[in-house]
Amino acid sequence: MNFKLKDIVPQLITVLAVVLVFSFFTYNAQINMENRGIDFGYGFLSQESSFDVQFSLIEYDGSHSYFRAYLVGLLNTILVSVIGIIIATILGVIVGIARLSPNYLINKFAAFYVEFFRNIPLLLQIFFWYFAALRALPLPQDAEAMFGVFFLTIKGLYVPAFIWQNFNIFFYSITAAIISIIVIRAHAKRVQENQGKQIPVFLISIGLIFIFPLLSFLIGGVKLSFEVPVLKQLATTSFIYEGGVSLPPELIALTLSLSLYTATFIAECVRAGIQGVGKGQKEAAASIGLTPNQVLKLVIMPQALRIIIPPTTNQYLNLTKNSSLAAAIAYPDLVLVFAGTALMQTGKAIEIVSITMFTYLTLSISISILMNWYNKKIAIQEK
């Protein structure tokens, strides 16, 4: 006999405890819901929601269903996370490299930025940007145009809208450019491996990515025009801008604080990654005659990325989860629209909170699967 009592007992007790706690909770929940006359079920998702959302990417008003409201919130969450991740990555990489600069001033400036922004709670930063900094912006009628087309006002940022004609042809041209670049890269790699000749892939790629869309404009009949926001008077003292795209101040405050905050952590990851590559690697690469660019591209970065990616993934996850702080400044994200307004209206606490948590779990897990796949791709292939 291989199993002992001492091996089975703790497992049984743990499982028993977990099952007991869960059944205790569900039992109470059933009684409570019966007493209050609430029935459990997800049928409310198809009912009419009858509330409005300030800012949504898809068409939405009170006559749509709760499920549509959920989608609106989810899309807003994804929008803010994606913008935040892009800005935070760019800023983080720049600051992380600046932290390694031999230039004393740049180094200290980057260090100051990192130490300053990461030691202040994110919620406080969001409040600061939203309630203090963005409230100091001019009213629409006093706003000065930036480059003649952007208007930054207390009611948000107004940018010109793109109006495309034959957008699909433009899209095809971009796709064609990308495909041809991939083909050329593969070809160049083969040529280099077989004949040792180097083809200037980078220049050709840049050329292609400009030439194909240009051709689509000249031949394909693609036209692009801008719709510039125009000031319009509603009443004697009330002005708004019409036309163009308006980004609400909540979105600006949220992306700004999320990316400034997360960039500090990404900067530290990047710094640790580059420092983690041994000095000998760089010297060895230089000694076999690689140019500085090649050293960075072929030797340093592949190794540094291996150290950088896992913690950076964590930061992306954190940013996505932190975007739920939007509820504090009334940006209509998933938590505010669904776990806030919809919950107040339907009173279905268990269903709505569980859907919200499940959504965040799915988002987190999908980001981590994606990054794990990438991480595995660039990991050392051991034989």
Partner: protein, 480 residues
């Protein structure tokens, strides 16, 4: 003509270049400085964009001239090495210097020169600077929330006493050093809890909580005297039994009433707030999340598959959801899961929620430390005949915890920075109080001052904590 070199310094014209370069550099900085501090525009006669670029161009040429390798002048070499290695660096350095000079006057004037400190009404704040009067008037609210003014000495006294008791470790003689772990892990939390329970609250806040804590601590203390053979079963049975005995047989609410200090009014948790609440919540979550996290870290590396799956599920669940939804759950969903007459104070609910949430992060950090230990440590401990608990307590955990000090410190920092989120359950710590004060009709329009004030406080706390953790890391660093 080849020996006349206008653009690059050499041995013969080194001094000329040095003087010329320093002069240009100095002029460019002086121009920006005068412009920024005294509103003097030396280059005002030039067109707008030129006068903007001129100092940059002058400084760039100046730095180009003084970029002399191994000039033999020590300060110059240092300058070149640090801010002036090549053209690109020179431009960046100049830009940073200009930004600093340009931004100093507005910041200084807002913070100090134009700010108003005196008085205690809004009328004194007429200048363009900050209104620190606002902070002064609201100081008590920011520190203590809605805690009654007459009772605030209780919070102060408790915190001072706890700080004194917490600093015992620095004064302990060698004879008592070996008891310090016991003191900090078991006795100090108990004292802190009693202080907060009897003194700050003075009423029936933490009833159920207190049974649990007293039961846990009693059973740990008794556990030291139990022979190791029975320890496993002891810890399976006794804490729970003790809790039930305390709750249903021995420790009636009247006892707590008896233990109450005379003349202290009960202050309900809804009135707690401000910075003191930040400290209370951080403290409790810190002492709770650490053992829970450790348990789940060990559970995740357990040999028993069922325990492992449960631990993995717990950790991944809490790490996958944002704290705000966890607090939402504790506020709206959790009461549905409890018997109807059973009420848990919302502060306690928030503390439980945050503790469980942070425990998952602590668990992952500790797991990292456990995995980083070489297998030899485990094998050596086992070969000495140590059991699972003995091996972990005396060999594995002391080493693993030393390894993960930075990670744990980061988690605790995140915990402190997450406390403002309790606004979700209706508790107002310092950031929540700021938002409340901001909407007071008598004091409209001072959001900036409030947020800057809170930011400074949080920055000091977090920066001090991170520096302290760095010191700890250096102190416990062992070469392997």
């Amino acid at each position: 003509m080849s020996n006349i070199n206008f653009l690059k310094p050499d041995r013969t014209n080194l001094n000329t270049f040095l003087y010329l370069g320093s002069f240009l550099f100095f002029i460019s900085i002086l121009d920006v400085f005068l412009n920024s501090f005294f509103r003097l525009n030396l280059t005002g006669f030039l067109p707008n964009f030129l006068s903007f670029l001129l100092p940059l161009a002058l400084g760039f040429v100046g730095l180009y001239f003084i970029r002399i390798e191994y000039s033999g002048i020590k300060n110059l070499d240092l300058l070149n090495k640090h801010i002036n290695t090549n053209n690109f660096n020179a431009v960046l350095s100049l830009l940073i210097i200009f930004v600093i000079i340009k931004s100093l006057p507005p910041i200084l004037s807002w913070f100090v020169i134009d700010a108003s400190f005196a008085g205690d009404t809004k009328d004194v704040c007429t200048g363009s600077g900050a209104c620190w009067t606002y902070i002064k008037v609201w100081m008590r609210r920011f520190m203590y929330g809605m805690y009654p003014n007459a009772e605030q000495w209780r919070i102060n006294l408790s915190f001072v006493a706890l700080m004194l008791l917490g600093s015992v470790g620095y004064f302990a003689t060698d004879k008592f050093k070996k008891y310090l772990t016991l003191y900090y892990v078991v006795i100090y939390p108990l004292i802190a809890f009693l202080f907060i329970f009897f003194f700050i609250s003075g009423g029936p806040v933490f009833f159920d909580f207190s049974y649990g804590i007293i039961a846990a601590i009693l059973s740990i203390i008794i556990g030291f005297f139990i022979p190791s053979k029975f320890k496993f079963y002891y810890f399976l049975i006794v804490p729970l039994a003790l809790y039930i005995i305390l709750k249903y047989f021995l420790f009636f609410e009247e006892y707590i009433e008896l233990g109450k200090l005379d003349g202290l009014n009960w202050v309900e948790t809804g009135a707690w707030g401000g910075l003191s609440l930040t400290f209370i919540i951080s403290f409790f979550c810190l002492i709770f999340c650490f053992p829970i996290g450790m348990a789940f870290a060990l559970g995740r590396r357990s040999e028993f598959p069922l325990i492992r799956y449960i631990s993995v599920g717990f950790i991944e669940f809490w790490r996958g959801v944002p704290l705000i939804t966890v607090l939402f759950m504790s506020a709206v969903m959790f009461p549905m899961f409890l018997p109807e007459d059973f009420f848990i104070d919302k502060l306690v609910r928030a503390i439980i929620a945050i503790s469980l949430f942070e425990a998952a992060y602590v668990a992952e950090v500790i797991r990292g430390g456990l995995q980083a230990l070489p297998r030899g440590q485990y094998e050596a401990a086992k070969s000495l005949g140590m059991g699972y608990w003995k091996m972990h307590i005396f060999v594995i955990l002391p080493q693993a915890l030393k390894l993960v000090i930075p990670g744990i410190a980061n988690t605790f920092l995140a915990l402190v920075k997450d406390t403002p989120l309790i606004f979700v359950v209706g508790l107002l710590e310092i950031v929540g109080m700021l938002n409340l004060a901001k909407t007071n009709p008598k004091w409209l329009g001072f959001a900036m001052e409030g947020y800057v004030f809170a930011a400074i406080i949080f920055w000091i706390i977090c920066y001090a904590m991170s520096k302290y953790s760095y010191n700890l890391e250096q102190k416990y660093k062992t070469d392997r």
